[in-house]
Symmetry: C2
Subunit: 393 residues, 2 copies
C-alpha cells in the first residue's frame, strides 16, 4: 500500500496537535493547548430560534443542494460589514463562502501551488496552514516575526526569489498573539505593490480586539491580488464550519470557486442560512463585546499569573486581542521536553515546534486563554511555573 501514496501526503506533517489535544482532553487536565472559543460565544438560544425560523420560512431550500459560491444574502451581509468596518469597496460577488477558514487555506494551496513553488510564511506561523500548504510540497520561506510585524530585510530577501504568495496573520497572530503595527503594514504594502505575488491576510481574530483601535489591512481593498480570510468560528460557532474569503480580483475568485466545487460542492447551506438569519435578527456587536470582555479578563489573568509564578528569564507576549499568547523559555530549555512533565502535573500547552517550517527543539510554546475561567487559568499557570522552575533547576 505504501507505494500507492502521493508525495504530498507523505510530506504533510502528521497530526501533531490533534495528538496533543487528545492527551489534553482528559477531564482533570487544565488545557491551554487547544484553540477553542469559550462557549459563551455560541448564542445557543438565539440560534435555536433562527433554526426554527429558517426551516419555517425557506422550507426545503435549507436542506437541498446549493450553489458553490455560497448563500447570496450571507455573502451580501459579509460584504456590507467589511465595507462599513474597514472601508472596503466590495459587494457579494467579492465573497466566497468556505467550509471554515481551513478550507480557504486548502483552496489557496490548490489554486496557486505547483511542487517546489516558493511561498512566504511568518516564523512562527499557524500550524494548520503549514499542513494545508505542505500538501502541494512548496518551498517555504519563513520570515521572522518581530514585535512590530515582519522582519522587513528578511522579507525583501525572500521576495527576491520567485514566490507565489505571502501568507500573513496580521491581527493577534496565531501562535504569537502579536499584531502588526500601522507602519509595518504600510511598509509591507509598499514592498508588495506592483509585484506579481498574492498577499493572503488571514484574519480569524480581527473581531476580537479587546484593547486599542483596529488597524487597516495590508492589502485588502488596495492590492488587486490580495485575499482576505475571515470566519464566524470565533464569534458565533466553529462547529458549523462557515468561513469566507474576500478578494477584489474576480478572476482569482473564479479559480478558487472551481477548486471549491471540486472539493465539497458547497458549504452546508443550513449553516449559511442559520448564520445569516442570526446576524439579521440579533445585536451582533453586543454579542462580540461580551466575548471581548471575557477574553480581556482571561488574558489579563494569565499574564498576572505568569508574572507571579514564572521564573525570571521567561518572556511572553501581551496580546491586544485574539486567543493566544506566546511564551519564550530560557535559552536552551526545550518546550517539547517540558510537555510530558506538564502533563504529569495535569496542565497542557502546545510546544512551539509545529509552528515552524524550519526549526526543532525550540524553547517556545503557545498558550490559549479563551477556554478556561480566570481561577483555572491561575492554577494552570501555577502548575506550569512549577514545571519550568523544576527544569530550570
Amino acid at each position: 500500500m505504501e507505494s500507492l501514496l502521493s508525495d504530498g501526503i507523505r510530506e504533510t506533517p502528521p497530526s501533531f496537535v490533534r495528538g496533543i489535544l487528545k492527551a489534553a482532553s482528559e477531564p482533570d487536565i487544565i488545557s491551554f493547548a487547544g484553540g477553542l472559543p469559550n462557549p459563551v460565544s455560541f448564542p445557543q438560544e438565539e440560534m435555536l430560534v433562527s433554526m426554527e425560523r429558517i426551516v419555517r420560512t425557506y422550507g426545503s431550500s435549507v436542506f437541498q443542494y446549493s450553489v458553490t459560491a455560497g448563500l447570496p444574502q450571507l455573502r451580501e451581509a459579509i460584504a456590507r460589514r467589511y465595507c462599513e468596518k474597514y472601508g472596503l469597496q466590495i459587494g457579494a460577488d467579492n465573497v466566497l463562502i468556505t467550509t471554515g477558514s481551513q478550507q480557504a487555506l486548502d483552496l489557496i494551496g490548490k489554486v496557486f501551488l505547483n511542487k517546489k513553488d516558493g511561498i512566504v510564511v511568518e516564523k512562527p506561523t499557524y500550524l494548520a496552514a503549514i499542513q494545508a500548504f505542505a500538501m502541494s510540497q512548496p518551498k517555504f520561506h519563513a520570515v521572522e516575526l518581530t514585535e512590530e510585524g515582519l522582519d522587513l530585510e528578511q522579507l525583501a530577501e525572500a521576495l527576491q526569489r520567485k514566490v507565489k504568495f505571502i501568507y500573513l496573520i496580521p491581527n493577534f497572530q496565531n501562535p504569537t498573539g502579536l499584531t502588526y503595527s500601522a507602519q509595518s503594514r504600510m511598509q509591507i504594502y509598499e514592498m508588495l505593490r506592483g509585484r506579481d505575488v498574492v498577499l493572503i491576510e488571514d484574519d480569524p481574530y480581527g473581531e476580537l480586539r479587546f484593547d486599542g483601535e483596529n488597524l487597516p489591512y495590508i492589502g485588502a481593498g488596495r492590492l488587486e491580488n490580495s485575499i482576505l480570510l475571515g470566519t464566524f468560528s470565533k464569534t458565533v460557532t466553529p462547529g458549523m464550519r462557515v468561513g469566507f474569503l474576500i478578494s477584489q480580483n474576480k478572476e482569482l475568485l473564479k479559480y478558487l470557486s472551481i477548486a471549491k466545487e471540486a472539493g465539497d460542492l458547497h458549504t452546508n447551506i443550513f449553516a449559511q442560512y442559520l448564520i445569516w438569519d442570526y446576524l439579521q435578527n440579533n445585536d451582533y456587536e453586543m454579542h462580540i463585546a461580551k466575548i471581548k470582555d471575557l477574553y480581556r479578563k482571561q488574558a489579563a489573568a494569565m499574564i498576572d499569573a505568569m508574572k507571579h509564578y514564572f521564573p525570571d528569564g521567561v518572556q511572553y507576549t501581551r496580546p491586544n486581542g485574539g486567543m493566544f499568547l506566546w511564551v519564550t523559555l530560557p535559552e536552551g530549555m526545550r518546550a517539547m521536553s517540558l510537555f510530558p512533565r506538564a502533563l504529569e502535573k495535569k496542565v497542557a500547552f502546545v510546544p512551539g515546534d509545529p509552528f515552524y517550517t524550519d526549526r526543532k527543539d525550540t524553547n517556545t510554546m503557545r498558550l490559549n486563554y479563551t477556554n478556561a475561567d480566570c481561577g483555572t487559568i491561575r492554577e494552570g499557570i501555577r502548575r506550569l511555573g512549577e514545571c519550568i522552575c523544576a527544569v530550570n533547576g
Copy 2:
C-alpha cells in the same frame, strides 16, 4: 496573475454543469439536468425536533470544534448499518466522516495521486469525480461500461499499466443508471485480488434500489485496499454535506484523515449530531421506502413518456434505482447542439460530454427523474422528443 496559477487548477475542467444548472434554474424550465433529490426525502419536521433535542441534550458540544474523524456515535451507527445490511465486519474505527462524498473524492486524489499517475475510471463516469481527480493531473484510463458492468478486456489492458486506483460506481451509476451484475462484480474482484491497487466503490445511491435485490460490493469487506463511499445526501439531506468513507485498512484511513484535517479540520458537527439523532429516533427504513416508491414511479413515467415521444433509434437505460437514466441519440446527432434548442423549448438535460475524459461531441445525455412530478416529467419528455425529431429531420 495568470502566471501564479497552479497546473492543477488550469487542468481542472471548468464548472460546465454548474453553468447548465444556472440556465436550467429559470422558473419556467423543466429541468432534467440537476441531480437534486426530491424534497420529500428531507424529513423537515423530524429534523426540527432533532435540532431542539441535540441542543438541549449536548449544549455547546454541537457548536464547538470537534474531532477530524467525525462524531463517534454517528460512525458507530454507520458501521452497524453496513454490517447488518451488507455483512461487512467493521466498527466505528473503519468509518471516516466527510463533508459530502465530494470531499471523499478530493481526499482520495490528495492521498494517492502524483502528477501523471494512472487511474481507471468508467466511461462515462461522474463528472465531479473527474473534476476532483483532475486537480492532481493524473492519467485517466477510461474503461467502457456495458449493460453488465465493465468491459473486462479493457480493464485487463488498463491494469497492465501502473495504476494507483480504480474508481467505480457499481449501483445505478451516475450518469448511466447502470448496475453491475453479480457475475461482473465477482470477475472484477478476482482481477483485483492480490494486486497493489486501490478499489474505490462510490455508492451514493445504493439505498435507493426500487427494483430487484441488493448485490454484494466488489471489494468492500474483502479487498484490503478498498474504500467504500456513502452519503446521507440522497436519503436525508444533501444541504448538510454529511458523507462517509469506509475501509478495512486503518493505515489508509490515517492518511485520509490527515488530508481531511488539512482540508477542513472536521465536518460540521451540528449536522453530524443531527443526522445521528434523526437515525436514532425515526424509522429510517420507512422513510427510505417512501423515497423509493416515488422514484420508482417517476422513473417509470419517464420511460413511458420516452417510449411515446422519442423517435425510433433513440436508446435509453432502464435503471433499477438511483436518480438518472442515460439516453443515446441516433448516431451522428450531437447532444451539445441539442441543448440550446431544448432550452428554447424550456426543457433541460446534461449533454454527455463532461462525463467523458476522452470524448467530445457525443450523442449521449443524462436525464434526472427525481425532482419533478410524473406529469411534469411527461411534458418535459414530450418537448425533448419534439426537439430530437426536429433535429433528426
